[in-house]
Symmetry: C2
Subunit: 344 residues, 2 copies
DNA sequence: GCCCTCGGTGTAAACGATTACATTCGCGGC
DNA sequence: GCCGCGAATGTAATCGTTTACACCGAGGGC
């Protein structure tokens, strides 16, 4: 492996000069510059990133702690993070932390000296365990909040989104609306549930525990939940799934049971993953700008990194958008043709 | 930030002793051990990963170069990689390389000194540009192969999988079968197309260019391709999409055009993403063990890392499995109830 | 009593870069 | 002719570890 010393020897200069020329961080005669560049190219010299970060104490790398992943959401959020990171000359170290407290701690330890900051997405926990980090390491909490205000956080406005969707369903005349809940102890899941209940109360309806079913954020969970709903004595007329994966499972179960959607049962989801519009009927959902979410998390983190974590802490929240398609029945009258899909 | 020196001073020993005790790499009296551990805990000492890798020249980190991602496939493959990496005490640096040659080179340069090896997934290119890497850095090509045998590679048996699916369609009586192709210049796409053509020839049918449509691996591409198919003079009776995303787009377009599936048009996909079974009708597909794919790539890479890249190069291939559901019409007679979904 | 071994410990050299500081040289101002 | 300055370059410290080597003392075999 060729090092800066090899280049220096071959070019008859000191390592300092090589470093200065290659980084443009100091004066050098035209002749020297040319010679060094030529040698570096010929020897295929590539600076050793690790050594460089060691001395500069900037790794130009960000850590990303993720929980166990739910399908497409995950890849989208990474895409957003990586774009922003790369645009700023940073890399991403990704680690799926087995959601236990111990797992997170281990991951944080391992990050020491490898990253300049961490985006931690661990909605299943109170993120309390993260507080153990040395206060010099910038951390952004994604999809969860810290108890105090010690850490930056970025969340989805789950509550408002859910509330809007359920309000919409109520506006269509539904009085008994079931919810398929997300994973227990999950921040997003809890907030979406809260929005659902608020919307009911807004309309003078009383939330019933029996209409709140577990779904675990998976297709299978949504499928199973619908089977239970269909057995109920006074069957609801609409079901709101706390994410699209569960909504898709729900659609599947309804179809197989011969229930007409949306005539006999309206369905709505959350996230608006790309697939939603390709469902039959097309799935109404609450759009989350997933890619943006990742991008903004990294932006916040980079802000913390450049300010050496000495900035005032922020809590940001990304807004959602109601996307009404066929599955909730709003367009029943004369059901218009679906919008043409975007070209790739 | 507390370093090993701080611990040494506080415990009245040399840094060497601290290092030995904490790593269990040398003898130490029970008293010393106890004292050092106590101090390290009290001071919340965490070893600096960067410094450690610098001296040991093992970063315990693997680089992952990815192309632009196609939905769920990507998150699954990462999951497999990360599991295996973590089990072996390694981290993952992930980088989406803008599929240009220059992008890959830049990414590879940046990896220097940060990783012990690289999994490069760049099916859109001949991966030729990767050959520039110093021969000491282990590299595993995922979903593509190098011209010579200079690099390890792991691919999907696309050709066999596609051939089997098309053979199945032919067995159901179809004579005109269209294919929606993947991204141009993509290895997987090319191999799936090859399998399609081979299956046709096996059955004495002649592949027609007009039945081979571009789809670009996206839902929108599949949707658009079907619209073209429906305009054809002698319409095919089956369509094989080179991945599930396109198949889902195709299903959507067919439904909206009022074409009965599978009676008027049989549909099959490739990958068998989790959603496939929740489609209406359930989507027949060629199952790819995506998670395994990631896991095995990392295993291969770790083998290269531990053998300092001095091992004989390997070309491995993961097998696929035919998953026949409703969309291709095989189960038309008495259409049995779908299998119950897996519980979460 | 001598030598060898071995447990326990410290000293200092690495690893590959960056960078503060010193040095040299030429040149212009006075 | 002296001083000072700035450009060009070299010297060496530094980052936080690991580890080869040296050292010292105790104990055992002879």
């Amino acid at each position: 492996m060729v090092t800066i010393k090899d280049v220096a020897r071959e070019a008859n200069v000191s390592v300092a000069t090589v470093s200065r020329v290659l980084n443009g961080s100091g004066p050098a005669s035209a002749d020297t510059q040319h010679r060094i560049r030529e040698v570096a190219g010929r020897l295929r010299y590539v600076p050793h990133g690790g050594a460089r970060s060691h001395i500069t104490s900037r790794t130009e790398t960000l850590g990303v702690l993720l929980p166990d992943l739910y399908g497409e959401f995950f890849s989208e959020v990474i895409r957003g993070m990586d774009d922003t990171a790369q645009r700023n000359g940073f890399h991403l170290i990704i680690s799926r932390s087995h959601a236990t407290k111990h797992g997170i701690e281990t991951a944080m330890r391992a990050m020491r000296g490898r990253v300049d900051g961490v985006v931690a997405m661990s909605p299943d926990l109170d993120a309390e365990s993260l507080l153990n980090v040395p206060s010099t390491l910038p951390v952004v909490l994604l999809c969860s909040v810290s108890r105090g205000n010690e850490l930056d956080s970025l969340t989805i406005d789950n509550c408002r989104g859910a509330r809007a969707m359920v309000k919409h369903l109520i506006g269509l005349g539904h009085k008994r609306i079931a919810i398929i809940k997300g994973a227990p102890r999950n921040y997003d899941a809890a907030e979406r549930l809260r929005g659902y209940r608020l919307a009911l109360r807004d309309a003078g309806l009383v939330p019933e525990r029996s209409l709140e079913l577990e779904g675990g954020f998976t297709e299978a969970g949504g499928y199973a939940a619908v089977l239970k709903i269909l057995e109920m004595d006074s069957r609801p007329t609409a079901v709101f799934a706390a994410n699209d994966s569960m909504a898709i499972g729900a659609l599947s179960a309804l179809r197989e049971s011969g229930v007409q959607i949306p005539e006999e049962m309206a369905v709505a989801g959350f996230d608006d993953i790309p697939l939603a519009r390709y469902m039959d009927p097309q799935l109404s959902s609450v759009r989350v700008p997933i890619c943006d979410l990742g991008a903004r998390a990294v932006e916040m983190l980079l802000h913390g990194v450049t300010h050496k974590n000495g900035h005032p802490r922020k809590r940001e929240r990304v807004q959602t958008e109601l996307v009404i398609r066929q599955s909730c029945g709003a367009q029943l009258v004369g059901r218009p043709p679906p919008p043409p899909p975007l070209q790739p």
